[in-house]
């Protein structure tokens, strides 16, 4: 059945409801890894050695299915809806498990299952010999299934189902090595921070239902135009609240650096390439709603810009091989939010894709290095790995150049296009912040690269680094190739194939009345971006490659209050700890105090009746009965008083 849903902008959306063909099989995409999870978990004892095979098979199968579905969408572009059974249907509130497969879904499917498969392969080598090897692969499959539910759901509630399940599997995987207490704490921090975002998301859903009478994404985006801008503003901010938690943006980014406690392939898959981009996906998915409220979009842009800058500043002075990448991820996600905010929805997805390539690659490189260095993470104790790990070195070089924005690698195109859009849409300040963040990115990534691979070895005699096995290097090579040519192939210019492909799925920005900041043309802006990357790389080269860095941390070129602040991550974690844990604990303590002391104390004034009854209790030696009766009576008196005051 073919339907035409007309977006308010006049863009016609071809909606095809089908249960046949390849689209008809789309429901298998999340189901296969889910079955893999169940299979691995149930069969741990009997099939412990096969766990990786089962999980990898599931990931491979779901990748093939996703590729097939995506090919269908590429060949016959349309918005496909795959009908599925009803989930909830009560009093006009109907939610189904329907799948929504359009161009945006196709892109996400390929990224999620593609990187997912590579990480599965890589994990075979990386996790070899771990005592909970099967369980690890089970969790990976669970994550894959959850992420695919998130991407495929045609309904905000099914999207939320996946949203929560990715949180759960991320919790399980961050705390996977729970022998260290801090890992368990990190897992909890991630989960609870995300719950805070969920409050916003859930209230957003309720408001959506109250406004539109449905949670179906297609219905919401087609009706969005008619919305009052106040309602749209509130809705967008509520969903933004959910997105900043999942995608680690200010002010809820604090969980992501801690999440590095998980196994490194997990960091690559969940905390770089896929799960953390769910917030970006959500906002782009709702972009027809976003364009109704330009004010809300400007807030998104500022959140993204400030996060990009702030996290980049922190990354400059971190020492952990994964911490730097974690703050880098936060910063890059900030670029994506910035893009969404300035109306560059497709640029944002483009950056999401290239970032999945190069950041997934860099994390896997980090894993390969840690594998070789007996799990050391301090980059000051590395250096000179170029010789011993040639494959890792070369792939890392490509990844670093890509994220730094060296043309013609993937990151150059996507980041540059975001910045030019910011400029052309009139966000001058945000454009400058973005440029500064780009310089910083080139700087801290070059620092990361130089300190690990170049110079003289600083790791002493104890470790004997070696190149990783093929199961780990092959995914590195694949991702390196994608990082190298991904940008050129997908979208070398503003109106490249990816943009035209994604066009029907994003909100129209024509009537937002964007004006360029100034007279600069792209011919000037692009060289500016290249200069930014070059400056960052050059500074890092001067600071870390040309100088003697053998004295470790002491050889940082700059010191002072600012550097100290960056090194200590601006004390944000400490502040949060104080405010939330402290205040939350105090509230709870106050209530306990109330429960034990005040209630006991109140009784003395609670009147003769309670005392009389209280004596009964006292004879029976039951402690607080007297107090309890007193409180019940006091409550009753207050209640009667409140009610009577209204009628007498």
């Amino acid at each position: 059945m073919k339907l035409l849903a007309v977006l308010a902008s006049g863009v016609e959306l071809e909606v095809v409801e089908t249960t046949s063909g390849l689209i008809g099989l789309a429901w298998l995409i999340p189901l296969v890894p889910l079955l893999g999870f169940v299979g691995v978990l149930l069969a741990t004892r009997a099939l412990a050695d096969r766990a990786a095979t089962i999980a990898m098979g599931a990931a491979a199968l779901t990748f093939v299915l996703s590729a097939a579905v995506a090919t269908t969408v590429i060949l016959e572009p349309a918005t496909y809806v795959r009908a599925m059974p009803t989930w909830i249907d009560v009093g006009g509130f109907t939610v189904t498990f329907e799948l929504l497969i359009d161009q945006l879904t196709a892109v996400m499917l390929l990224v999620v299952t593609g990187v997912g498969l590579l990480v599965h392969v890589y994990s075979v080598g990386y996790m070899h010999g771990d005592s909970r090897y099967p369980r690890y692969f089970g969790y990976l499959n669970l994550f894959l299934a959850s992420m695919l539910i998130l991407v495929l759901g045609s309904n905000l509630l099914t999207l939320f189902l996946g949203w929560e399940l990715v949180g759960l599997s991320s919790y399980l995987l961050i705390g996977f090595w729970f022998e260290s207490r801090s890992n368990a704490a990190a897992a909890k921090k991630a989960f609870v921070t995300n719950r805070v975002g969920d409050v916003s998301f859930m209230v957003g859903m309720f408001l959506t239902f109250a406004t539109f009478g449905t949670l179906d994404i297609l219905d919401v985006v087609t009706d969005a135009e008619a919305l009052a801008s106040g309602t749209a503003f509130a809705l967008v901010l509520l969903f933004l609240g959910g997105a900043v938690a999942k995608s680690a943006q200010i002010p809820l980014y604090v969980w992501l650096p801690d999440a590095m406690a998980g196994p490194t392939p997990v960091s690559a898959l969940i905390h770089a390439a896929t799960m953390v981009t769910a917030g970006v996906y959500l906002l782009v998915r709702l972009s027809p709603l976003l364009v109704v409220s330009v004010d809300a979009m400007e807030i998104i842009a500022w959140v993204g810009a400030l996060t990009a800058l702030f996290a980049a500043l922190i990354a400059v002075r971190q020492d952990g091989i994964k911490e730097i990448l974690a703050y880098s991820t936060i910063s890059q996600l900030g670029f994506m939010f910035l893009a969404v905010g300035v109306g560059a929805f497709r640029e944002s997805i483009f950056h999401l894709v290239t970032h999945a390539f190069f950041k997934g690659l860099l994390f896997l490189v980090a894993g390969s290095v840690m594998h070789a260095m007996a799990n050391r993470t301090d980059i000051w104790q590395m250096g000179g790995l170029r010789k011993v790990m040639p494959v890792t070195f070369w792939t890392a070089a490509i990844g670093t150049a890509a994220i730094a924005g060296v043309p013609p690698l993937a990151g150059f195109f996507s980041k540059d296009q975001i910045l030019t859009e910011a400029y052309f849409h009139g966000y001058g300040a945000i454009w400058i912040i973005g440029l500064v963040a780009a310089v910083l990115t080139a700087f801290y990534m070059s620092r990361w690269f130089i300190l690990i691979f170049l110079g003289r070895p600083r790791y002493g005699e104890v470790v004997h680094p070696h190149e990783s096995p093929p199961s780990m290097t092959v995914p590195l090579i694949v991702l390196a190739v994608l990082s190298a040519i991904g940008g050129l192939a997908l979208n070398a210019v503003h109106t490249g194939p990816l943009y035209r492909f994604l066009e029907p799925t994003v909100g129209p920005i024509d009537q937002l009345g964007y004006e360029p900041v100034g007279p600069l043309e792209e011919a000037v802006l692009i060289p500016l971006a290249i200069v930014a990357a070059a400056v960052g790389i050059l500074l890092a080269y001067l600071a870390y490659a040309r100088r003697d860095v053998s004295s470790g941390r002491m050889s940082e070129p700059v010191s002072g209050v600012g550097a100290e602040l960056m090194e200590r991550r601006f004390f944000v974690d400490e502040a949060y700890e104080k405010v939330f844990t402290g205040a939350g604990g105090r509230v709870a303590q106050a209530m306990v105090w109330f429960d034990t002391r005040v209630i006991d104390g109140l009784v003395d004034g609670a009147g003769a009746v309670s005392v009389a009854i209280g004596r009964v209790g006292r004879r029976a030696q039951t402690g607080l009965v007297r107090s309890y009766v007193g409180v019940v009576l006091l409550g009753a008196i207050v209640l009667v008083g409140v009610l009577m005051a209204q009628v007498v």
Binding site: P85, V199, F206, A588, Q589, D595, A636
Partner: protein, 550 residues
């Protein structure tokens, strides 16, 4: 005698036996089980005559075209001597099986009742045509049916869950099952009660049975304390409730709830007296379902009572109490809506936050679950103050999802308690995910459901209630509910984290499940998942339950 001759012969209203058939069957079963327990060695002497009576009644019912109730009577009649014959020396097994079968029978009868009042067989959406019975004392409507389903299901799961536990603690005395059945009858009756007297009697039937059950462990000081506290405080609450009912009668001159409702809607009615009655009734019922500040008994009683009784109280009493609240406020007090909606909404907000925060600082698992149950009373109240069909079905549905989740959680606590004895604290849970993954997994699942995470029953429960709240314009209350569920996620997660993310203490014995416990836990866990993924079956029943006798 002369006077009697002079008056008109009393007109006895026709008793619609079918309107309380499930309760009737359960009461009879409770009595017979009690007699069997007394008979000790000569159990067949009780069982055979009881079976004969039951069979005769069943056959007569079948001849009257009442096939389902007849069939239930015949089946129960046949089962009784068979059970006694099968377990000659194990009285408690006869009791447990007997109670279980009686509850199955009651569920079947409830289903039969439900089908008879359903209308619109052809159309897709079935609606309930509410029926009043016994001169308006009973109402067979949506609240009644759904409450029956919830409490019978709870009872049915509690029997196997508690069986091994009672034996371990040597408190498997013969009165346990009959008392449980009587409590269930009281709860179901509370769901059907349509006038003040029936309502109060039903409340006392269930309360008295629970007072005794809470003190089942006679040698355990905590159990005795729990029982006495529950009794003393319950008595105070009952007195307040009764006074409130009396005042309501004074104000309206009516006992039947619908009549009170129409009377209170009139301008001529004395609103002062009626409001006083309303306030006192709120206190009394607030106590039963543990709304803050009338919740104080809950942690002590839940912690001290035998754990299977706690599970039963937490799951079933709440359902029954809210059935009474729903009916009273929606049928009898709609005229005073402007007064009680804000009051109950504030109480709900307090309850949600207070329960969640206090649960945070608990160390004992049962006590933590007690505070969690307080929190959940707050969520269920959101559906009441929504004053809408959606809210009504939302609350009923919420109570079912809460009942299965909390039952599953307590069942896991029992499994841990059985071998470790005494109280189960957080420390005892360390590393349980490694040593006994099944129990740790199910406990985590139930806790995630209580926390309201998809795709569990608890998520759909909260969703429907919150949805009703938003529709009724109570967004602030829903926001508080969502916030409190974040706070609650902390402590549910802490339990799960302790089990999965910490190392086990090798000195601790492993939890052990008996076969009954395994079945009960597995069914609860399965329901938690099923109601989360395919809630449609019961949601539709809940949806149609919005039809009330007014």
């Amino acid at each position: 005698m002369f006077l009697a001759q002079a008056t008109e012969p009393l007109e006895i209203p026709e008793v619609a036996w079918s309107s309380f058939a499930p309760e009737l069957a359960l009461t009879a079963a409770a009595l017979v089980l009690l007699l069997i327990a007394i008979a000790k060695g000569r159990q067949q002497l009780v069982a055979v005559p009881a079976a004969v009576v039951s069979l005769a009644a069943g056959i007569w019912l079948v001849t009257q075209q009442l096939v389902v109730p007849g069939g239930v009577a015949i089946a129960l009649g046949l089962a009784l001597p068979a059970l006694v014959f099968a377990f000659p020396r194990r009285g408690s097994l006869v009791q447990a099986w007997g109670a279980g079968l009686a509850l199955v029978g009651a569920l079947v009868l409830t289903g039969w009742q439900y089908l008879t009042v359903l209308e619109g067989g052809g159309t897709e959406v079935a609606t309930i045509v509410p029926q009043a019975a016994l001169a308006g004392a009973l109402a067979n409507d949506g609240i009644a049916f759904f409450t029956r389903i919830t409490v019978y299901l709870t009872g049915l799961l509690v029997v196997p869950i508690g069986y091994g536990y009672l034996q371990d603690r040597r408190i498997n005395r013969a009165e346990v099952e009959p008392l449980l059945l009587l409590a269930v009858v009281g709860m179901a009756a509370l769901g059907t009660a349509n006038d003040l007297i029936t309502l109060f009697v039903a409340l006392e039937v269930l309360s008295l049975a629970l007072y005794v059950l809470a003190g089942l462990a006679r040698r355990d000081r905590r159990s005795q304390e729990a029982s006495l506290k529950y009794f003393v405080l319950g008595a105070v609450a009952s007195a307040i409730l009764l006074y409130g009912m009396a005042l309501t009668y004074v104000a309206s001159g009516e006992l039947a709830l619908p009549a009170i409702g129409s009377s209170l809607g009139l301008v001529t009615t004395d609103r002062v007296v009626a409001t006083l009655g309303l306030a006192l009734i709120t206190v009394g019922l607030g106590f039963k379902v543990a709304l803050v500040p009338f919740h104080l008994w809950t942690p002590d009683v839940y912690q001290g009572s035998p754990t299977n009784v706690t599970a039963f109280m937490a799951a079933a009493t709440k359902a029954a109490g809210f059935a009474a609240i729903l009916r009273l406020y929606l049928v009898a007090f709609p005229g005073l809506q402007g007064l009680w909606v804000p009051v109950l909404a504030v109480l709900a907000a307090l309850t949600m936050l207070y329960g969640a925060y206090l649960a945070l600082v608990q160390r004992d698992l049962k006590r933590m679950l007690a505070y969690s149950s307080i929190t959940h009373a707050g969520y269920a109240t959101i559906g009441v103050v929504a004053v809408s069909d959606a809210g009504l079905s939302g609350t009923l549905w919420y109570l079912l999802t809460y009942a299965v989740s909390t039952l599953g959680a307590f069942a896991c606590v029992i499994a841990i308690e059985r071998t470790r004895g005494g109280e189960v604290g957080l420390l005892e849970l360390r590393g349980l995910g490694r040593t006994s993954p099944a129990i740790a997994g199910i406990l985590s699942l139930c806790l995630l459901s209580l926390a309201g995470l998809p795709p569990t029953a608890g998520f759909v429960g909260k969703l429907v209630v919150f949805q009703a709240g938003v529709q009724a314009g109570l967004t602030w209350l829903v926001v508080i509910g969502v916030l409190s569920s974040v706070v609650a996620a902390f402590f549910y997660l802490r339990i799960a984290g302790t089990m999965f993310l910490e190392d086990a203490d090798p000195a601790l014995p492993l939890p052990a499940a008996s076969s009954g416990l395994t079945v009960g836990t597995a069914v609860s866990a399965a329901l938690v998942v099923f109601l989360g993924i395919q809630p449609q079956l019961f949601l539709q029943v809940a949806d149609s339950a919005a039809a009330l006798v007014r």
